[in-house]
Symmetry: C2
């Protein structure tokens, strides 16, 4: 079993457009799947999960989208905290793009499964910390497995240092179409990967 | 067309074992495919390629394997230089594991296609440079596409910073079974990827 899993829930906008909705309408449909996914991880005894909410680059998108994914991230984080988890939000809190409500979670709070939410995160921002002694995400451990929805075969700047040895599993479905079997199939696939870590 | 492609030529040992050879015998069979691949990249007008030869972690393998992949890397590098390329070797040259012959290539030499060979490379070694102003691989540009042979869906520490937005294409074949159509199919696949770079 993987100890730490990263999730890249991509495809919200494409999902919305395919249903005749506006692009920004897709983000709100990503919240419930995320809560289901975390419940599933808890049930399976996963110790730590990291979820890509939005990046500094994403905030350059149209304001209406920015507002929608920022609000969805806040609702998602607060509900995770309410249900019980050791929640940490990782991202540049010195910027106006960082949701005020989430500043309290820049230090880990709560107990239970470790949940790291990347909010206004940037890989450059993260590794710039190395000039001052450590990654800005240095409370986030090495990833064993990364699951991405929406078909993209890339990391898109997701925790580049913690991802160095992670196995990457991709689903073609858009994130709002998440089903628990995606997660089960990711775990089954992971079991068959040969992990040598270079040795 | 991708400007810069990374190659992870994995599966040499598995290829050898499948043919009844000793594991270490596989590395020598990876040289000619590598020369063919670079010739193909030149013909297609690719500006820069980066190739994973061996890592600091790999040198912890049995000595007979270490000697075999180190020698294969030296032969490969010298032949690339002889055929003409702007060759740079990236790796920790202060260690005894770094082949003496390749020290001259720690600064880029020659002209033509840029070829970066990762020799005694380590992702930790690379990013540790950020504490002193820049990546140790800072002459290596951002990757557009990474092609990996041998079926592994992971980066295994391959240039974590330059890989942040790279599309990752995986072949199941072991590296010594390289065929030019693998490369052609990688390019065709890459053309169909949607590259937003987070925007």
């Amino acid at each position: 079993m993987p100890r730490h899993i990263g999730f890249i829930p991509d495809g919200n906008r494409r999902w919305a457009v395919a249903r005749g909705l506006t692009k920004e309408a897709g983000y709100a449909y990503g919240i419930d799947p995320g809560l289901l996914l975390i419940a599933k991880c808890k049930a399976c005894g996963i110790a730590e999960v990291s979820i890509y909410c939005f990046t500094q680059d994403n905030t350059k998108r149209p304001a209406i989208q920015h507002q929608a994914f920022s609000e969805a991230s806040v609702v998602f984080a607060c509900e995770i905290a309410r249900r019980g988890a050791a929640l940490l939000v990782v991202g540049d809190e010195t910027s106006a793009q960082f949701p005020e409500t989430l500043k309290t979670f820049r230090q880990r709070q709560g107990s239970g499964i470790k949940v790291n939410l990347l909010v206004n995160y940037g890989w450059k921002w993260d590794i710039a910390g190395l000039a001052n002694g450590g990654l800005r995400s240095d409370e986030v451990s090495r990833l064993d497995l990364i699951v991405r929805w929406g078909g993209g075969r890339r990391l898109s700047g997701f925790l580049p240092v913690q991802s160095v040895y992670a196995d990457i599993y991709v689903r073609e479905e858009y994130w709002p179409d998440y089903s628990p079997e995606h997660f089960e199939q990711a775990l089954a696939w992971f079991k068959n990967q040969d992990r040598t870590l270079g040795g």
